[in-house]
């Protein structure tokens, strides 16, 4: 394409296009090209229609006071939605709640997954059973997870409070206590989502060559040194992948608070995606909600890039 533009300058447009066309004819077999494009077309239609176009359409919507019933009557308000967003304390509250959830959920999701993966990778008895147990929550839907944990955390007849009552005076009222609600959601999330990280890290650990450890043992390295100097550096890329994907996932938490607490008590578990959902589908403010989506997108890209640089530098 750049060649074409350059040629237009030197050769004149007509000549340039002729040359370019000739090149295309020489380089590509006509039949093969037709078949190739035809095979790619069905996916590309879906991709353009439900991924690429919406991405631009969303940006467009976010600049309007969008009328969901008759979009043509929407009023252009420029960056008005973004401005309103920045001035809405509820948005900041939701953002803070989401960050709090990320802080509570990401470290255990990565660290425990790593510990479990390293443990299961040792020659322990019942390896297959352990792997099956830790991996199994992967196949559950968020509704099932949330409903089970609501029952476990329940004040009346809940197992956790019942058991805690044996060891402490007044166990927390998990989901209805403002300080505990988000932590309770994080606990349920860790149980549910650790499976993915666990399996990725287990595979990563199995890809580390045994020879490295044998050599280190001959040199008399301690297991701590082997962990620090072999295991972690060798697993770096999968670890970075897991950290980034866990961050991105936790930032988008929705189902758990939606089902377990409905954002409460007193908005303590109202997250960004819940905010997007409520403004969009309860408030019918589509332009506003689209703007929330874009802000979240920017946040996620920033967080991923920071993660990537921090983790890759840290060698």
């Amino acid at each position: 394409m750049l060649d074409l533009i350059a040629a237009m300058r030197t050769e004149g447009p007509r000549q340039a296009i002729n040359l370019w066309w000739q090149e295309m004819v020489d380089e590509y077999d006509r039949r093969e090209s037709a078949e190739g494009i035809l095979l790619a077309l069905p996916y590309l239609l879906a991709f353009v229609g439900f991924m690429l176009f919406p991405l631009l359409y969303g940006l467009y919507m976010s600049l309007y006071d969008w009328d969901a019933l008759s979009p043509e009557q929407s009023e252009f308000i420029g960056l008005g939605n973004y401005q309103a967003l920045m001035n809405d304390p509820r948005f900041w509250e939701a953002l803070w709640n989401t960050i709090w959830f990320v802080i509570l959920s990401v470290p255990p999701l990565v660290v425990f997954a790593l510990l479990l993966a390293l443990g299961v990778n040792r020659n322990v008895k019942g390896q297959t059973v352990l792997r099956t147990i830790f991996f199994s929550p992967y196949i559950l839907t968020v509704s099932v997870v949330a409903l089970i944990w609501v029952e476990l955390f329940a004040g009346e007849g809940g197992l956790i409070r019942h058991w805690l009552a044996f060891v402490m005076e007044d166990p927390p009222r998990f989901l209805i206590d403002q300080t505990w609600a988000m932590a309770s959601i994080a606990i349920a999330t860790v149980w549910w989502s650790i499976a993915f990280n666990f399996i990725i890290l287990l595979a990563a650990r199995q890809n580390v060559s045994d020879r490295l450890y044998e050599a280190a043992k001959l040199d008399g390295a301690s297991s701590y040194r082997m962990m620090r100097d072999i295991t972690i550096p060798q697993m770096r890329n999968p670890l970075i992948f897991v950290v980034i994907i866990t961050f991105v996932g936790s930032f988008q938490v929705f189902g758990q608070p939606y089902i377990m607490t409905d954002g409460g008590p007193r908005f303590a578990t109202h997250t960004i995606v819940m905010y997007l959902y409520t403004t969009g589908f309860a408030g019918r403010e589509f332009g506003y909600a689209a703007a929330v989506g874009y802000v979240l997108f920017l946040i996620l890209i920033t967080v991923s890039v920071i993660n990537y640089y921090v983790l890759s530098e840290n060698e």
């Binding site: 295309m24 095979l39 790619a40 991405l55 196949i139 509704s143 007849g157 149980w191 959902y277 589509f286």
Partner: protein, 295 residues
């Protein structure tokens, strides 16, 4: 590691011949306690779900909860089957997850084959854009895609839930990675023997890619079966709900707390995938690990 050798370790440990053996022994004990302790904690939510769904009312509402039921009842399950549309929801979920999986497998394998084996103008740009879209979190598109679905008149339809799944880039990416590493000599010789591109694709490529397609299919099926936010906004009629939506609505519409019924519905909804999981665990592990290599 057999029980015998563990017992040997313990015996060795007890004599504490030297510091090393003792440390080794203690570390092993810590490892087992840690792993099996974690496994026990992991199982409790399952036990709770299964147990509560079979408990009669007096146990559910007793002052002290029972982890192990004293007496078993099937009343919640019979109510679930007769008094709620859960069978209908299951059928909806099967249709949506099955349809999306089939569509993704066909469409993604076609473009993956085209991108790795055929030469056409613009191919590289197109593929880079698909790969880049991997960075786009689904949530950004929630509102615009909803608006598009509404305008296409696909609200409350199976297709409305399936289309955004089909547009996802992960399958294309997974299959391209897989196709790339596959030798193309067989295809070359088939072409010389006069096979058409279509024949090569259906008779050679698809059978050879069975393991990758199985992994991708499993992943998409589970993903769609479990997805929550999309069907929640697209399916607004009770008869169209999928299981994840139906379960939550069921809980909301109960006038009084019905832990037995809710836990029965949770078990019912997860049972199909549990069976798939136990039968195809190996392939499922592969599917997850393929995503790891994608990143």
């Amino acid at each position: 590691m057999s029980t015998k050798s563990i017992l040997n370790d313990i015996r060795n440990g007890e004599t504490f011949e030297n510091q090393d053996a003792r440390n080794h022994f203690l570390r092993k004990v810590a490892l087992y306690v840690g792993l099996y302790g974690a496994a026990f904690l992991f199982i409790i939510p399952y036990l709770w779900m299964i147990s509560r769904g079979f408990q009669p009312r007096w146990q559910l509402f007793a002052a002290e909860p029972y982890l192990i039921p004293r007496e078993i009842t099937f009343e919640w399950y019979s109510f679930l089957l007769e008094g709620t549309p859960i069978v209908r929801w299951t059928v909806n979920t099967v249709i949506i997850a099955g349809g999306a999986t089939l569509a993704v497998l066909i469409v993604d394998s076609m473009i993956a084959y085209s991108v790795t084996r055929l030469n056409w103008p613009g191919k590289r740009v197109v593929f880079s854009v698909i790969v880049a879209s991997f960075m786009v979190p689904g949530i950004v598109n929630l509102i615009p895609v909803y608006q598009i679905i509404v305008e296409l008149g696909l609200l409350n339809s199976y297709l409305g839930v399936m289309l955004p799944v089909i547009a996802g880039p992960i399958g294309v990416f997974m299959l391209v990675q897989f196709f790339k590493d596959f030798p193309d000599e067989i295809e070359e010789s088939a072409r010389i023997d006069g096979f058409s591109t279509f024949q090569i694709y259906t008779r050679l490529v698809l059978p050879m890619m069975k393991s990758a397609l199985t992994a991708l299919g499993l992943f998409i099926f589970i993903w769609t079966w479990n997805s929550f936010l999309w069907p929640l906004i697209i399916l607004q009629r009770e008869s169209m709900y999928t299981l994840p939506i139906g379960l939550v609505v069921l809980q909301d519409t109960m006038t009084a707390q019905q832990p037995g019924l809710i836990m029965a519905s949770a078990l019912f909804a997860s049972l199909p995938l549990f069976i798939v999981f136990l039968l195809l665990q190996k392939q499922l592990v592969e599917a997850v690990q393929m995503q790891g290599t994608v990143g």
